[in-house]
């Protein structure tokens, strides 16, 4: 009987366990998500925006090209070697006697550069001397034309004696900073030539020693890490050309609509402080927008060659020359260019140096602070008329819920805004699957209302409060695990509060958009 009872209880356990259904209940939650204020303050005073008359102005200044001495004249690492031997069979050298005395001209390989004089800002000579005889020797090195404060570079070294067939070796480094180097050679009319003078003698305390014409005294001088601060000579007939892109990332998010800009002018400015003849050409400046539409800028200097005048003065009194190309609504299609809302801009240019050859008799000059610089400058009111201008951004998401476990069933995003921009804004969310097919659209219940419909706040800034909701239905939540992308469309208009038609509006200084976003959601607890 007892056994029967136990078996019965066990059966009851199984039955009761298998019959139990899940328990669930709904809970209501509120969670803050975003609290932020967007404004343009971080763009002010960084050559993008400034304020005039209480409104923002675009004060854009961007450098497109900036090249200097290192880009035109460069001395690569170069090793100069002198191999010194007797011109006769042998000699017994008494103590303190000189047995080598040679002067040589060494050539720098600088391709089409023909330099006559350079001044080094930095650089070194790594010197290595080999002594083939079995006594210490004194080596005197002089570099005629290499001076610092008008003193010629001259060094003396005691070089160790050779041991057996292994020559004695001495290594030294000479700092060449601020040295001036005359590269015209012994006759004073050559280029890229460095003179060197070497003499070798035994020490007065040495023993007499036999030196033959098979004994090679070798001097290696490696010019390394040379940075110039001045160069004179002929810089060659060269063409520098490039095509460079610069992107305005924000415009990449424009998905539709249009804008109207006020009268706009843009200045392209070329500054030259290098003494050479040159001519330049801007091949094209174009942009492409999100839909692939390309607009090229037409106007003065585009596609035409123009000359760059040489600067005047010298080191401290150098006066650059400038060329300014102005593009405005009257002489170009600059408004169309910007209204295309291109996100990728491409500039192609070329500059030819010494286009007529060495007409300066080798007197091109470049200083440490000389440069060839191209900048673009724009100064215009930050005013815009937006007609359903749609800014779009896409976010990858991976939202997972298990349907038989605790989960969110539905909810509402509540957006409270404080808008001091004269724009109306409508927000729309597109929920897409992995193939970017639209599953659901969530539309804001109300727009973010333009500040022009509001009143002044305590800081004297006109603003308007708005509240809108985005309802996430149960059907949307059911599909949540299929949503892989959320596309946010922000549609802008600039309506006139009286006529309700879009108008050109300026952006007031200190305009802001305060955003508070919270989620109200229903969480179904399941156990």
């Amino acid at each position: 009987m007892l056994v029967k009872l136990i078996v019965s209880f066990c059966l009851l356990i199984v039955v009761a366990s298998s019959c139990r259904k899940t328990t669930s209940w709904d809970t209501n939650w509120v969670a803050p998500l975003i609290n932020d204020t967007l404004d343009l303050s971080n763009l002010v005073n960084d050559s993008t925006l400034d304020v005039a008359g209480g409104f923002y102005n675009v004060n854009l200044k961007r450098t497109l090209l900036d090249v200097g001495v290192g880009d035109f004249v460069a001395i690569p690492d170069t090793t100069i070697e002198q191999d010194l031997t007797l011109s006769f069979a042998s000699i017994t050298v008494p103590p303190g006697a000189q047995f080598v005395n040679a002067i040589e001209e060494n050539t720098f390989d600088l391709q089409d550069l023909e330099l006559k004089k350079i001044i080094l800002k930095a650089g070194v000579i790594d010197l290595e001397i080999e002594n083939p005889i079995h006594e210490q020797v004194k080596l005197d090195l002089e570099l005629p034309g290499v001076t610092l404060n008008n003193v010629t570079l001259s060094k003396s070294y005691i070089v160790p004696a050779a041991v057996g067939t292994t020559p004695g070796v001495l290594k030294r480094t000479i700092d060449m900073s601020n040295y001036s180097i005359d590269l015209t050679g012994e006759n004073g009319s050559s280029f890229n030539i460095l003179q060197s003078k070497v003499s070798v003698s035994t020490l007065s305390t040495a023993n007499p020693v036999v030196v033959t014409n098979q004994d090679h005294t070798i001097v290696k001088a490696k010019f390394k890490n040379v940075v110039l601060k001045y160069a004179r000579g002929y810089f060659g007939n060269r063409i520098i050309s490039d095509t460079s892109d610069f992107n305005i990332d924000f415009f990449e998010n424009i998905a539709g609509g249009s804008i109207d800009l006020p009268a706009t002018s843009v200045k392209l400015k070329i500054e030259n402080s290098i003494k050479f003849d040159a001519r330049a050409q801007i091949n094209f400046l174009k942009n492409v927008n999100h839909s692939g539409t390309v607009v090229s800028l037409n106007g003065d200097g585009i596609g035409n060659t123009f000359l760059l005048d040489q600067p005047t003065g010298s080191f401290n009194s150098l006066q650059p020359t400038y060329i300014e190309l102005l593009y405005n609504s009257g002489n170009s299609n600059i408004e169309n260019y910007f209204e295309n809302l291109g996100y990728k801009h491409t500039l192609a240019y070329q500059i030819q140096i010494n286009p007529w050859g060495n007409t300066s008799a080798g007197w091109n000059e470049i200083y440490e602070h000389s440069k060839l610089k191209m900048t673009v400058e724009a100064n215009l009111p930050l005013s815009i008329q937006a007609d359903n201008l749609t800014i779009r951004d896409t976010f990858d998401v991976n939202l997972q819920q298990t349907k038989d476990k605790s989960r969110i069933t539905n909810g509402t995003f509540v957006l409270d805004t404080d808008n001091a921009f004269p724009f109306n804004g409508n927000v729309k969310l597109h929920l897409l699957n992995k193939n970017k097919q639209e599953l659901h659209v969530v539309q804001s219940s109300h727009p973010i209302v333009s500040s022009l419909y509001g009143a002044l706040n305590s800081a004297g800034i006109q603003h308007q409060l708005s509240n809108s909701e985005f309802v996430i239905s149960e059907a949307m939540v059911e599909n949540l695990d299929k949503v892989k992308f959320i596309v946010v469309d922000f549609e802008l208009n600039t309506p006139n509060p009286t006529t309700q038609t879009n108008q050109m509006v300026g952006i007031p200084a200190n305009a802001f958009l305060g955003i508070k976003l919270k989620a109200n959601f229903n969480l179904k607890a399941v156990i």
């Binding site: 009987m1 009872l5 139990r20 259904k21 669930s24 809970t27 803050p32 975003i34 609290n35 109200n520």
Partner: protein, 409 residues
């Protein structure tokens, strides 16, 4: 039908006897040779949660909003809830006498034990069953809340005195579950719109780190001493009972989550959602954000969930129609308070008796109890409840049932 189901549920899932639900019937006869006892009991008790809610956890289903709200409104500032389920199968052989000079038999038992105990603030219940929306604009106190869950199986061997029926058992315990957590000074404050929140969290939660069935080993004793007391010209019997007094050692490390942090949160900034540094990309977890530390550590020994009872019990050989029983029982359980109880047994005929009792304490407030018992030649059968209201009404605060089957040879 529902009551029968609930009764069966309790008998099936909760097994262990409680002295106050069905008083020990003290039989000093020495005629028994062997005895098999199956007893079990369980209670689901609370000071604030009624069966209208508990029933959903027993039968399943969607808990309506009004049930959750009504139960929330029944809460005091500090509340208690507990589940204790215990069952044992004991075999007693009085003929095996391990000690020549003692009239002792042997007692072998196997059982299972599950306890869930909690003391909590009403706010914690509100958050769990209503969410935070009903509490916008207020501060929810979460302090001084604690919960412990221990599951174990036990196997014991001991001795029992043939005449007095006093017994001592040494048990080994296989720990199957251990979770423990508490919150000290903790609260959630929200503004009325739900745009700002301040969370103060100071607490700890630890759980076993492995998924093996047995997670630790323990040792403990059950002891049951019965002493005759002569007072007011009559003899009474007093029972001193200790169950599961011992310690357990977890064989694997425990994962301990601890936090002592104040978070003021009013939302992220836009830049937190865009670019390479976006919080969705940079691996920032919610745990990191709230300063939750996660350590895997060697656990300290844990006390088994023991109980101690002192009670006046029923004399089987008394010829009185009415006999009283009463006592006090204390649980080593977070959130539980000592329980006192008193009852009266009616024995209208020799083989049948029934009784009624009242109690206060444990995880509950005042409760009434009932039991019936049949005492036959070889079998005793008894069932009991210590929560009459809970048995018949959704307004009762929990349910408590027990049964005992004695088979004598």
């Amino acid at each position: 039908m529902m009551k029968i189901g609930a009764l069966l549920f309790a008998m099936v899932f909760v097994t262990s006897a409680f002295g106050q639900s069905m008083p020990m019937i003290y039989d000093t006869l020495e005629t028994r040779k062997q005895e098999v006892v199956l007893d079990g009991a369980g209670q689901l008790s609370s000071t604030a949660v009624s069966n209208s809610l508990f029933n959903f956890f027993i039968k399943g289903g969607e808990i309506p909003e009004n049930v959750r709200s009504d139960n929330y409104n029944q809460h005091n500032d500090l509340n208690r809830v507990g589940v204790i389920a215990q069952g044992e199968l004991s075999y007693i052989n009085y003929t095996v006498r391990p000690f020549e000079k003692k009239n002792w038999g042997i007692l072998v038992k196997a059982g299972t034990l599950t306890t869930v105990s909690s003391r909590y603030r009403s706010g914690l219940f509100g958050l769990a069953f209503l969410g935070n929306e009903p509490f916008l604009g207020t501060t929810i106190d979460l302090s001084n809340s604690t919960a412990t869950y221990i599951g174990a199986h036990k196997l014991g061997f001991g001795f029992i005195d043939l005449k007095s029926k006093s017994s001592v058992n040494l048990n080994v315990y296989g720990i199957t579950n251990y979770n423990h957590g508490y919150l000290n000074n903790s609260s959630l404050t929200q503004d009325a719109q739900g745009y700002n929140a301040e969370v103060i969290l100071n607490g700890q939660f630890e759980k076993t780190s492995r998924s093996t069935y047995f997670k630790g080993l323990g040792v403990g004793v059950d002891a049951n001493f019965i002493l005759p007391i002569d007072a007011f010209s009559k003899r009474s019997y007093i029972q001193f009972q200790v169950q599961n007094l011992g310690v357990a050692f977890l064989s694997h490390k425990v994962v301990r989550y601890s936090m002592d942090t104040t978070i003021q949160f009013n939302g992220f900034e836009i830049n937190d959602f865009v670019g390479d540094g976006a919080i969705v990309n940079n691996g920032t977890s919610v745990f990191d954000a709230i300063g939750l530390k996660n350590d895997t550590i060697t656990a300290d020994p844990i006390a088994l969930p023991f109980s101690i009872q002192v009670a006046k019990i029923i004399d089987e050989h008394s010829s009185n129609l009415l006999q009283s029983y009463y006592g006090i029982q204390a649980y080593y359980q977070k959130g539980a308070i000592p329980m006192v109880y008193a009852g009266l047994q009616v024995k209208p005929i020799e083989w049948f008796r029934f009784g009624a009792s009242v109690s206060y304490g444990g995880f509950a407030k005042f409760r009434g109890g009932l039991y019936v018992q049949a005492v036959m030649k070889k079998i005793n059968l008894g069932i009991a409840t210590t929560n009459i209201v809970g048995m018949v009404s959704k307004k009762g605060f929990g349910q408590a049932y027990s049964f005992r089957i004695n088979y004598r040879i």
